[in-house]
């Protein structure tokens, strides 16, 4: 049964959540929106198409301690704080499901799992497609799972769908009434990737376009850093001044860096930027799907929105004949 939350009820619902959970929600910063920890409803702004950066860093922090050590003694800390991600778009919820398949496989990642289990996802349907959005091409504009609540703005208020037991408990309050309203969402997308584009891509591993496009690449890693599904990392040890204790941590890596393909003896498998650019696009659009039978890319367009030289995955696919 769908519920209705009146527009003026949203503030009360939100502030109720702040009493129990740490809330991560969209905040306006100059001309972009970003997810931040907030304390009250007044700090957030829901007037956005999508946030400039995804919520990835709240589940896979840029810098994550795996354990600390002192002599041979190892100490593990996991973050068990209860959080709510509020106002996340459907494509970004689907992106978390993409990362789940990697991090919650037979070798479960306990750090990621703890954060996933302790975080309530309150998603917000889109009312407008952005200039660079192409989620419709992969069906990731729709949500069937991965959320606790899904809010859709209508004239009458927010229509709320529950996606879990936790979600059902959250709407068990006087603020929510039963409703039959079926919200209609019509989004007009300007960018698309078709099945035909993907088939052509598969056949064009060897194509001059990779070198041509890579001429623009600065290896700045803006694409992978702002991608909601790129989860790669490096691991390092950090030593304290006593030279005995320290910690092992992981930190974001990027396939766009030459070092990412380094092996012993200073050899590099992907020395050329063209190979690195191609690797990213093939991972996003071919490799992951071959393995998990589901698209990795969720079509948020952040990789080219944030690219300083506008290397555009959708355009590249269009150029491959």
């Amino acid at each position: 049964m769908k519920k209705l939350l009146k527009k003026d009820g949203l503030r009360q619902f939100f502030n109720g959540l702040t009493r129990k959970y740490a809330i991560i929600a969209p905040v306006k910063k100059k001309d972009i929106h970003v997810f931040e920890k907030v304390n009250s409803f007044d700090e957030i702004d829901l007037n956005f198409i999508n946030t400039a950066y995804p919520v990835k860093s709240f589940f896979l922090p840029v810098y994550q301690e795996l354990f600390s050590f002192n002599g041979g003694k190892i100490n593990v800390k996991t973050d068990n704080s209860k959080k709510v991600v509020f106002g996340i778009r459907p494509c970004d919820v689907n992106a978390l499901l993409v990362i789940d398949r990697i991090f919650l496989d037979e070798y479960e990642d306990p750090y990621y799992k703890a954060r996933r289990n302790n975080t309530i996802i309150i998603a917000l349907s889109c009312t407008e497609a952005g200039e660079n959005c192409f989620c419709e091409s992969f069906g990731t504009n729709k949500l069937t799972k991965g959320f606790d609540l899904l809010l859709t703005k209508t004239k009458q208020g927010y229509v709320v769908e529950t996606g879990s037991e936790k979600g059902k408990q959250l709407v068990n309050s006087k603020l929510f009434s039963n409703t039959n309203i079926e919200p209609k969402i019509e989004l007009k997308f300007k960018k698309h990737i078709t099945e035909n584009d993907l088939n052509k891509l598969k056949q064009n591993f060897e194509n001059p376009i990779w070198e041509e496009e890579a001429k623009k690449c600065l290896s700045c890693t803006a694409c992978t850093s702002t991608c909601p599904t790129c989860p790669c990392f490096f691991v390092r040890d950090e030593t304290n001044l006593d030279l005995k204790s320290g910690k092992r941590y992981r930190y974001w890596a990027s396939c766009q860096l030459k070092n990412f393909s380094k092996v012993a003896g200073d050899a590099f498998f992907r020395k050329e930027r063209s190979k690195r650019l191609k690797h990213r696009i093939f991972h996003q659009l071919v490799y992951y799907k071959d393995k998990f039978n589901s698209q990795m890319c969720v079509g948020c367009g952040r990789c080219f929105t944030n690219c300083p030289t506008k290397i555009n995955m959708v355009e590249i696919l269009g150029k491959i004949k």
Partner: protein, 261 residues
């Protein structure tokens, strides 16, 4: 279970093979297959994937070449020191599948390490295999690893050894491993090839094997990549859609030939 946490085991033997390569024997009883690898740690320095160089119940041998910070720290450990281990990870050489065949071992340089486990396995299960031939290449006589063992093996099996560049004392063959392979003029009947070595060597070994009439699916290669986790998370070892850490590091060549960057 937290896969990132290493367990610590004692080094019970250390032997220097060349000026930069050491064998470390770690006392630990973990079942493993030849060709698999362990994530090996020295706290404060870091962790690196090291292929297992033995096939034994009570210990694992790690053959470590001092080329980076972790391997340098490993080479500086002494007997009695503890080393961090987690694993084994990945798929090794499919020993069960290879039974009934003549096993052709081709290795170059440090690529010798994983195939030594295969040799030990075959020695322990000799009745299951038709036979074994080995082709080893090293840069110079000073770079030859496990010299005594190679000597012993040559009493039981056909061992072909070559160095890229000889010296005054060297009386053996000089030339690339592909040269002695070509000279063997062997056919592909009832044979399975196990190979490991630098990418450039593998490339030419395959070309030579094809000339000799071998099919892709008769060849198993072990691939090298950087790995930060060993459990298909960090993405470092992803190539052509396969994770070397989990889908490999040993691949049949019919699959490996598509794994290009």
């Amino acid at each position: 279970m937290n896969q990132y946490i290493p367990k610590f085991y004692k080094i019970i033997k250390k032997k220097q093979h060349t000026n930069d390569t050491y064998l470390l024997r770690v006392k630990v009883s973990i079942p493993y297959e030849p060709g698999q690898f362990f994530q090996v740690s020295v706290l404060n320095i870091g962790e690196a994937p090291i292929s297992v160089c033995s096939y034994q119940k009570d210990y694992i041998d790690l053959n470590v070449r001092d080329v980076g910070s972790v391997t340098h720290a490993l080479c500086n450990l002494k007997i009695g020191d503890k080393v961090g281990i987690r694993g084994p990870y990945g798929h090794g050489y499919p020993m069960e599948l290879m039974k009934g065949n003549n096993i052709i071992i081709i290795a170059g340089g440090t690529g010798f390490s994983p195939v030594r486990g295969v040799v030990e396995y075959i020695e322990q299960h000799s009745q299951d295999f038709k036979g074994m031939k080995m082709f080893f290449g090293f840069r110079t006589p000073d770079d030859i690893l496990f010299r005594d063992e190679i000597e012993n093996w040559s009493k039981k099996f056909e061992v072909n050894l070559t160095v890229d560049k000889g010296d005054d004392k060297w009386k053996g063959k000089v030339g690339l491993v592909t040269k002695i392979l070509e000279d063997s003029k062997m056919n592909n009947q009832n044979k399975v090839v196990v190979t490991c070595g630098p990418p450039i060597m593998i490339k030419f070994v395959i070309l030579t094997l094809k000339k000799l009439g071998f099919n892709d699916d008769q060849i198993y290669v072990s691939l090298e990549r950087m790995m930060s986790c060993g459990i298909q998370k960090c993405g470092n070892c992803l190539v052509g859609g396969k994770y070397v850490c989990k889908d490999g590091p040993v691949f049949n060549y019919k699959e490996a030939k598509f794994l290009v960057d």
